[in-house]
C-alpha cells in the first residue's frame, strides 16, 4: 500500500520523470467523476470535510443533472516506493455532445484510464473514447468500476475489455469509485505503467492550450500542458497562431483550487492568466510560447468544435432582446463551441440563430440562459446545416429553414455521420430496421463478445440528432448505446415544408425534410397546431405546403360561444378577475395575421419530446 505523498513535488521544479499525466475516459455515467473524487481524497488535496460527491462537477447545471460537461484538470501528489510523484488527472465528460472536450484533454496526457461500469460493460462512448485515446498514442489502463454493485459482472466484462484492448482479463483492475476499493492500487499502477512526459527543457517554450474558460473575477483562465521549455510569471507570452502577445499575470496549478506557482516546466499541466477578456484570444489548440525566445514551430492543434444543430432562440418578451444578446456574448466567452448570429422571424420577432454541438448542448445552453439571465425563451425546431447549390452554381449554407432558397435548386447536400451502436445481439434486427428507416447505410458489424455486437451505420445527421436515441433505447430495452461523429455529406432529395395559418406563412414552423418525410411532418405539425391554437371568432385553416403544393391541412372551426351564462350578484368579482386573467393571457399572444397564437402554442409545437429534461441523459 502506498502512503499519500509526504512532500508534494513543487511546480516549475518537478523532474518530468516523476510526472504522470492521464485522463479518465468512459461512457456517460460509468463513474469517472466519482473515481476522481476518491483520488482527490486519497491524495489528500481535498480535506474530508470539504469533500462532496462529484467534486469536480462545479457548475450548477452539472450538479443538477449529475453529468460532467466540462473537463477538469487537477494536480495530485502520490508516493510509490518512497518517491513522490506528481499526477495530473483530467476528469472528462461522457456525453457524445462533448466528445470534443475529451479529445482536447487527451492531447495533454500520456495515458488514459478507460473506465467501464462492471454492471453495464462496454458501450458506444467507451469505444469512441478508446479510439480517440489510441489515435493520440496514449497508454491505456483498462479499469472496471462499480464492482460493489450486486449486478456487477467483473469476469464477463474483464474478458470483453481484454478482448478489445489486448492483454489478459486478470490484468484488468477492478475498483469501486463509491467505496474506494482498488483506487490506491490504481494510482500505483498509473505511476508504474504510464510513461513520463518527454520534452526539451532548454528549447524555446511550447505549451498546448487545452481549455480556456472565462471567469468573472479572474478574466480568461487558460489551461496548458507544457511540452518544451518553461513558462514563468510576469513573462511576456505569445500565441503562435496570431502572434498576439500578453503579459503573464499569474501562472499556477489546480489542486483542485488554483495555486499560483513560480512557473510550469516540461510535462506540467497548469493555468495561465493574462487579463484577456475573450476566450477566443486564447484559443484552445493554440501553442503558447515566450515573446523573447519564441519557438519556431507550433504543436499540432485541434480542429475547432463544429456546430451540428441550429435553432433560433427568441425572447418571449421582445423587449428582452438586448438581454439575450448580452447573455449569449457572455456564454460564448466560456463556450468556444457556441456560435450565433442575429436573425428575425416574422412570427417571433428578433432573436438569434445559434449553433450547437448537439441537443444536450442546446438544452443546457438554453437552460443557462433562462436561469442565469432570467430570460423566457422560445427555441425553434432544431435543424442541421444544409448546403444548397443553385442552378446558377451559387452555393448557400442554410442553417435556418426560412432562408431556404425558393429559386431553382440544382442540388442539396446534407451532413452525414458515422454512427456506432452497441447492443446485445438479440436486438440487431430491430436496430437495422430503425437505421434503415432513417436512410442509413450499414458499414459493418462486429461481435465484442458472444452476445454483444457493434453495428456501424452511415446516417444523415438530421435523422439521428432528434429522437433517434430515445427510439433506440426503447427498441433495445435500454441496452443500446450510440456514438456518432461527423462523416462528410451527401446529396439528398430534400424539400422545405412551410406551415400556413389562414394562408399566412409562419416562418418559425418551416422545416427542411427528406421528401419522403415531408408529408409526415406536415400532418404532425398541422395536427399539433390544431390542438394548440384556441378557436378564434373565424375559421382558421392550417396548411402544410411544399412550395405551392398543399400536402396536409387541418381546420380550426370558429368559436361560437364565449360568454358566461350566469352573472349574478355573487359572480361579479369572480367574473371580473377571470376577465383580468384573460386580458393578461392576451398579452402573451403573438399575432399571425389576424390569428392570435398563444406563446405556449409556439413552445409546445416547437418542442419535440427529446428535448425534455428527463430524456437528456444519453
Amino acid at each position: 500500500m502506498s502512503p499519500k505523498a509526504r512532500t508534494a513535488p513543487v511546480p516549475a521544479a518537478t523532474d518530468p520523470a516523476i510526472i504522470r499525466n492521464f485522463c479518465i475516459i468512459a461512457h456517460i455515467d460509468h463513474g469517472k467523476s466519482t473515481l476522481a473524487d476518491r483520488m482527490l481524497q486519497l491524495t489528500g488535496v481535498v480535506e474530508p470535510r470539504d469533500m462532496k460527491a462529484q467534486y469536480l462537477d462545479r457548475m450548477d447545471i452539472e450538479r443538477e443533472r449529475g453529468i460532467t460537461i466540462k473537463s477538469q484538470a487537477v494536480r495530485i501528489p502520490w508516493e510509490v516506493d518512497g518517491t513522490a510523484y506528481c499526477l495530473n488527472m483530467i476528469d472528462t465528460p461522457g456525453h457524445v455532445d462533448f466528445t470534443y472536450e475529451v479529445s482536447r484533454s487527451l492531447a495533454a496526457c500520456e495515458g488514459a484510464i478507460l473506465l467501464v461500469d462492471a454492471a453495464q460493460g462496454i458501450e458506444a462512448q467507451t469505444l469512441a473514447n478508446l479510439y480517440l485515446a489510441m489515435e493520440n498514442n496514449l497508454t491505456i489502463i483498462p479499469v472496471l468500476n462499480k464492482i460493489d454493485l450486486p449486478a456487477a459482472q467483473p469476469e464477463k466484462y474483464a474478458a470483453e475489455l481484454a478482448n478489445l484492448i489486448g492483454g489478459k482479463p486478470e490484468d484488468v483492475l477492478k475498483v469501486s469509485g463509491k467505496t474506494g476499493m482498488g483506487v490506491e492500487e490504481l494510482l500505483d499502477q498509473i505511476v508504474r505503467e504510464l510513461p513520463a512526459p518527454v520534452g526539451n527543457p532548454d528549447a524555446p517554450a511550447r505549451a498546448m492550450i487545452f481549455d480556456s474558460v472565462y471567469d468573472t473575477y479572474r478574466g480568461v483562465v487558460t489551461y496548458v500542458r507544457v511540452v518544451d521549455g518553461k513558462l514563468s510569471p510576469r513573462e511576456k507570452i505569445q500565441m503562435m497562431s496570431t502572434r498576439a502577445t500578453h503579459e503573464l499575470l499569474e501562472i499556477g496549478v489546480s489542486s483542485p483550487e488554483p495555486v499560483p506557482s513560480k512557473g510550469l516546466g516540461v510535462g506540467e499541466v497548469g493555468y495561465l492568466i493574462t487579463g484577456v477578456k475573450d476566450v477566443r484570444q486564447s484559443k484552445v489548440g493554440d501553442t503558447v510560447t515566450t515573446f523573447l525566445k519564441p519557438a519556431a514551430e507550433s504543436l499540432g492543434g485541434y480542429q475547432d468544435a463544429k456546430p451540428m444543430v441550429f435553432s433560433g432562440l427568441y425572447p418571449l418578451d421582445g423587449t428582452d432582446y438586448p438581454v439575450l444578446r448580452d447573455a449569449l456574448e457572455k456564454l460564448m466567452l466560456n463556450d468556444a463551441a457556441l456560435v450565433y448570429e442575429p436573425e428575425t422571424s416574422a412570427a417571433l420577432g428578433f432573436g438569434f440563430r445559434v449553433g450547437f454541438l448537439g441537443l444536450l448542448h442546446l438544452e443546457i445552453t438554453r437552460e443557462r440562459l433562462e436561469r442565469e439571465y432570467k430570460l423566457d425563451l422560445i427555441s425553434t425546431a432544431p435543424n442541421v446545416e444544409y448546403e444548397v447549390t443553385l442552378e446558377d452554381k451559387k452555393v448557400i449554407q442554410v442553417t435556418n429553414p426560412s432562408e431556404y432558397p425558393t429559386g431553382k435548386i440544382a442540388e442539396v447536400r446534407e451532413p452525414m455521420v458515422a454512427a456506432t451502436i452497441l447492443a446485445p445481439n438479440e436486438f440487431v434486427g430491430a436496430i437495422m430496421e430503425l437505421c434503415q428507416s432513417r436512410r442509413g447505410i450499414m458499414g459493418g458489424m462486429d461481435y465484442l463478445s458472444e452476445d454483444r455486437v457493434e453495428i456501424r451505420y452511415r446516417l444523415p445527421l438530421a435523422e439521428i440528432v432528434f429522437d433517434f436515441f430515445d427510439i433506440l433505447k426503447s427498441k433495445t430495452r435500454g441496452y443500446g448505446s450510440l456514438d456518432w461523429k461527423a462523416d462528410g455529406e451527401q446529396v439528398a432529395d430534400l424539400v422545405k415544408v412551410d406551415i400556413m395559418l389562414q394562408g399566412e406563412q409562419v416562418d418559425a414552423f418551416s422545416a427542411i425534410t427528406h421528401r419522403d418525410k415531408a408529408y409526415a411532418y406536415g400532418v404532425m405539425m398541422t395536427g399539433k397546431l390544431r390542438e394548440l391554437i384556441p378557436r378564434q371568432q373565424f375559421e382558421v385553416p392550417i396548411q402544410a405546403a411544399i412550395g405551392a403544393r398543399i400536402i396536409a391541412r387541418e381546420n380550426i372551426r370558429a368559436i361560437r360561444k364565449d360568454v358566461l351564462a350566469k352573472c349574478y350578484g355573487g359572480d361579479i368579482s369572480r367574473k371580473r378577475k377571470l376577465l383580468e386573467k384573460q386580458k393578461e393571457g392576451k398579452k402573451r399572444m403573438k399575432m399571425v395575421g389576424r390569428v392570435e397564437v398563444p406563446q405556449e402554442a409556439f413552445i409546445a409545437a416547437l418542442s419535440s419530446d427529446d428535448t425534455s429534461k428527463d430524456k437528456s441523459k444519453k
Partner: protein, 410 residues
C-alpha cells in the same frame, strides 16, 4: 339568485361591518335592494355549486328552524352598520330570496324575514319581491301565504321537461309538477318565471326543443335559460373527468341558445340580458337588473355578496360560522374589496354590455370606442343601435359576449 360557493380573495372586512367612506358618497340618489340567501336543499344536485347544504351535510349544526331568526339578526346588524357608515336608509326597490331552496323553509319564515327588512328600510310602492322555488317544494297554500306576506314573484327551477335530462341533473321533481306549480302561483297572483338549463350531457336538440316548448306552454312572464356550467368540485365535474358522463360542448350550447332565442321571440318573450327573456319590459327581473346596473344591495345569509357604492363584500360561507358571528354581534363578512373608479368602470362595461338596453358608446374609453367598428364588422354589435350611440349585442354577439367585453376593455 345566489353566490357561487367559492369566495373571492379580497381584503379583510372589519368586525363592526362599517364601510369605507366611498360607500356613502351619493348614496341618497341610488336605489337599494335586499338579497336573502337560504342555504338549504332537500338534496344536492350534481351540477350545483351554490352555497347550500342538505340536512345530512349540516349534521345538525345550524338548524333550519333557527335560520329565520339568524337572518333577522343580520338585517338588524345591516341597518345599523349602514347607518353608522353614513349610508342613508332607502326603501327597498327589490327583494330576492335565493338559495339553496328558500321554499324549503315554511312560508312564514320567509315572510318574517321580509317583514323584518321592511321594518328597517321600508318597501318601495311598486317593489318586486321574488323567491326562488323548486317545483316540488311549494303548494297552493304556501304560495298564497307568500303572496299574502308581500311576495310578488316566484322563479321556479324547472331546468328541463325531459325525464332523462332531469335525471342527469339529479332533479327530483316530476315534470308534471311544473305546470301545476305555475298555475298555483298565478292563482295566488304572483308573477312567474321559470329557469331552464340547456346543454346537459345526453340532451338532444329535440329534447331541448321539448323543454323550451313545454316552458312556453305554461305561459310564464319570464324565462331564464342557462347553458350548463360544469363547476369545479361538483359531482358532475367528477363524472365527466372519469368519463362516466360525456363532456359539455360549446357548439351544442350555441345551437341550443339560438333555437331557444328564436322560439322565445316567436312566443313573444324578448331578451333583456344574455340569459334572460321577458314578456314585457315590466316583466324583466328588476332585482337582477339592479346587479347589472351597479345598484346598492345588502346580501343577507352565509356566503351572500353585497355591494354598496363600489364596495363589495361577502359573508363567511358556513351557516354555523355565520350564525356564530351574528351571535357575538360581529359582522359575518369574510372579506371585501373597495373598487377604484377604473375597476368600477370595468365592471360597468362587463355587466352593461350583457343588457339589451346596451351601453352608451360615449361612456367607453377612446380605445373601447375604436374597437366598435371592428365589432360591427365581426357582426357582434348591432350597427343601427351603434349609429344611434348605443352598443347592443347581436345574437352572435350575445354568444361571444365575453370576447366583446375584452375588446371594449383593451
Amino acid at each position: 339568485m345566489t353566490p357561487p360557493s367559492t369566495l373571492p380573495l379580497g381584503d379583510p372586512a372589519p368586525a363592526d361591518g362599517l364601510l369605507p367612506a366611498q360607500a356613502a358618497d351619493g348614496a341618497a340618489g341610488r336605489r337599494f335592494s335586499l338579497y336573502a340567501h337560504i342555504p338549504f336543499c332537500a338534496v344536492r344536485c350534481g351540477y350545483c355549486d351554490f352555497n347550500t347544504y342538505t340536512a345530512t351535510e349540516l349534521g345538525g349544526g345550524a338548524s333550519q328552524a333557527a335560520y329565520a331568526a339568524t337572518a333577522v339578526k343580520e338585517i338588524t346588524f345591516a341597518a345599523r352598520a349602514l347607518d353608522l357608515s353614513g349610508v342613508p336608509a332607502r326603501p327597498m326597490g327589490t327583494v330576492f330570496f335565493g338559495g339553496g331552496t328558500p321554499t324549503l323553509l315554511p312560508a312564514g319564515d320567509l315572510t318574517a324575514i321580509l317583514a323584518a327588512a321592511v321594518d328597517q328600510w321600508g318597501l318601495a310602492a311598486d317593489a318586486e319581491v321574488t323567491t326562488e322555488a323548486n317545483p316540488d317544494s311549494v303548494t297552493a297554500d304556501s304560495l298564497r301565504e307568500l303572496a299574502d306576506g308581500g311576495f310578488t314573484r316566484v322563479s321556479f327551477g324547472m331546468q328541463s321537461a325531459v325525464p332523462h335530462v332531469l335525471k342527469v341533473l339529479d332533479r327530483t321533481h316530476n315534470p308534471q309538477r311544473v305546470p301545476q306549480a305555475v298555475a298555483w302561483a298565478r292563482e295566488a297572483g304572483l308573477n312567474v318565471s321559470v329557469d331552464l338549463i340547456y346543454g346537459t350531457p345526453g340532451e338532444s336538440m329535440a329534447d331541448w326543443e321539448t323543454s323550451v316548448r313545454a316552458a312556453l306552454s305554461y305561459e310564464p312572464d319570464h324565462i331564464s335559460a342557462y347553458s350548463l356550467i360544469v363547476e369545479e368540485g361538483t359531482k358532475l365535474a367528477a363524472q365527466i373527468r372519469r368519463g362516466q358522463v360525456p363532456d359539455i360542448d360549446d357548439d351544442d350550447h350555441a345551437a341550443k341558445y339560438e333555437l331557444a332565442d328564436a322560439l322565445f321571440a316567436e312566443a313573444g318573450l324578448h331578451w333583456y340580458e344574455v340569459s334572460n327573456w321577458a314578456r314585457t319590459p315590466a316583466d324583466a327581473c328588476r332585482h337582477n337588473l339592479a346587479y347589472w346596473r351597479g345598484d346598492d344591495w345588502w346580501g343577507v345569509g352565509p356566503g351572500a355578496h353585497s355591494h354598496v357604492g363600489g364596495v363589495r363584500w361577502w359573508n363567511v360561507k358556513h351557516p354555523t360560522a355565520y350564525a356564530g358571528r351574528l351571535e357575538q354581534g360581529l359582522s359575518p363578512a369574510a372579506g371585501r374589496e373597495t373598487l377604484d373608479p377604473a375597476t368600477r368602470d370595468v365592471e360597468r362595461i362587463m355587466l352593461g354590455s350583457r343588457l339589451a338596453e346596451g351601453l352608451a358608446v360615449e361612456t367607453l374609453t377612446p380605445a373601447g370606442r375604436a374597437a366598435v367598428a371592428g365589432l360591427i364588422a365581426a357582426e357582434l354589435v348591432d350597427p343601427r343601435a351603434a349609429f344611434a350611440g348605443t352598443l347592443v349585442l347581436t345574437l352572435k354577439g350575445r354568444l361571444l359576449g365575453d370576447a366583446v367585453t375584452r375588446a371594449l376593455l383593451d
